[in-house]
């Protein structure tokens, strides 16, 4: 269920916490296994993480459902996480959400037919001086315009 490579990555996090406190690594462990499973979690995967970290399954489930970064439904290969909070809103984020929906032919929350992209409206990503902005993978894209969005989104593979 959890690859050896993922276990190695999880162990790096476990080593940061006192002995017996390995469940502190659950947040990263869930992210690591999620990345190996088409960016989504299932009950089995959460159970496997709980077993690996020797913690109750319910405790891992609580974390997996409390935090926003975990997916429990299918998502695209790329998730465009567009900020719609105040500084981005004041700088036209709502228009850009509509533009993205039209360009990709899907509403926020849905995945494009080819499985490549989904758009998610998210709360403040802490890059307000670069508003409007979105995040794809680890990367932030700031000071977005429709033209800039075309360039970024057209290059997603």
């Amino acid at each position: 269920m959890i690859s050896n490579q993922a276990k190695k990555q999880i162990d790096v996090w476990v080593a940061k916490y006192p002995i017996g406190r390995q469940s502190s690594a659950v947040m990263e462990a869930l992210k690591i296994v999620q990345a190996e499973n088409e960016n989504r979690l299932s009950a089995d995967i959460i159970q496997a993480v709980a077993d690996y970290l020797d913690m109750p399954s319910i405790a891992a489930q609580e974390v997996a459902t409390f935090y926003e970064n975990y997916n429990h439904k299918s998502v695209g290969k790329h998730t465009i996480r567009i900020c719609h909070n105040i500084s981005c809103m004041l700088n036209g984020a709502d228009d850009l959400v509509k533009y993205l929906e039209k360009k990709l032919g899907v509403k926020t929350g849905k995945v494009t037919k080819n499985g490549l992209v989904n758009v998610k409206k998210v709360e403040c990503l802490g890059a307000c001086v670069g508003a409007p902005m979105f995040q794809i993978g680890e990367q932030y894209y700031e000071n977005l315009t429709k033209q800039k969005i075309d360039e970024i989104v057209d290059n997603l593979k």
Binding site: F66, N85, S87, C124, A131, Q139
Partner: protein, 422 residues
Amino acid sequence: MNEVCFKNLDKKKCYSLKVYEQSGGYSIWRKILKGELTPEEIIDELKASGLRGRGGAGFPTGLKWSFMPRNASMQKYVVCNSDEGEPGTCKDRDILRYNPHAVIEGMAIGGFVMNASVGYNYIRGEFMEPFKRFEGALKEVYKAGLLGKNIGASGVSFDLHTHLGAGAYICGEETALLESIEGKKGQPRFKPPFPANVGLFGQPTTINNTESFASVPEILSQGGQWFADIGVENSGGCKLFSVTGHVQKPSNFEVPMGIPFKDLLEMAGGIKKGRKLKAVIPGGSSTPVLTAEVAMEMTMDYDGIEKAGSMLGAGSVIVMDDSTCMVATLTRLAHFYYDESCGQCTPCREGTGWLYRVLKRIMDGDGKADDIDLLLGVSDKIMGNTICALGDAAAMPVESFLRNFRPEFEYYIKHGKSMVKG
């Protein structure tokens, strides 16, 4: 401008150990390792500097550090709060990206003062670029032999780790943050006991904001009085202000406390062409909104902003021009708190939902005449009735938006549309 956290901003590779050391970085830490500084001396300098917590609460840092039971034999921790997520706030991201070593040195100094040999920097999960920068900086200091156990046979030990969040604003609340490091849901703890007594893993812990830690090395290098003199009475030093919204050049500015708001606005290029200033949120989405008239007379320090009727918060200045619909803006803020409430306390869990749904109904053209009273009633019932400050943070914008811009809400309810032509 840019004298402390942003000191090296204009230099190439300003985030490297080399550049940091060339400008005097780690000199305080080296003094500590040589036994030339005592915890008491450091606390005295911090108290003299007037440094107050930069995360929003504004608690004096020197005093906070003195609360730790440093002579108790148990394991103690220092924790840095880099879970930046209050709408309008984006300063810690730049400190982590451009001056990570100041955070590391500040945390190490804190560890020495409070006799805590382990530290964690909690970085929000989305901040992967700042996280990697910070991890890179950590590698450099370990390689240089400046962190670890019994560093250079000094008898001083300090190990520093990162912990990544996973998308929850509430983890910026310090006890929720501790829960999160323990691998749990980020739900705030009852206080007391305070973290200085029972904190991370049940051990004494002190949590400070990224900017607070990053300010410490420079304060100790230049002296507490030097820092205090940069600012004004009761608000020592300089502060990072994130100026965003309807300004020509949104940016982070590190400027002396007490600077007039109108000067800060000018630094950000002023309002967009052809527009007029309408409203300002001076300290991040949780702080009360002010009208243009009040804001233009305000100075940017704890007392100055309080006098104007709001709070300095994290220094997140959100500027709105006359194209802004205040109903739509408040609805978006209400959605934020509805989304981010951890669900633990009933007044906040239920109240934030009520606030959002009533505002949404007004926006949809279905507002009722008594909706304004309903909003005020709900926010009043949240205020002061929750474990942590998120409840108050959700209630305060509602009260201030309605007090300052009530006719806009009345118009929207009556006509089913905004009176502002954007």
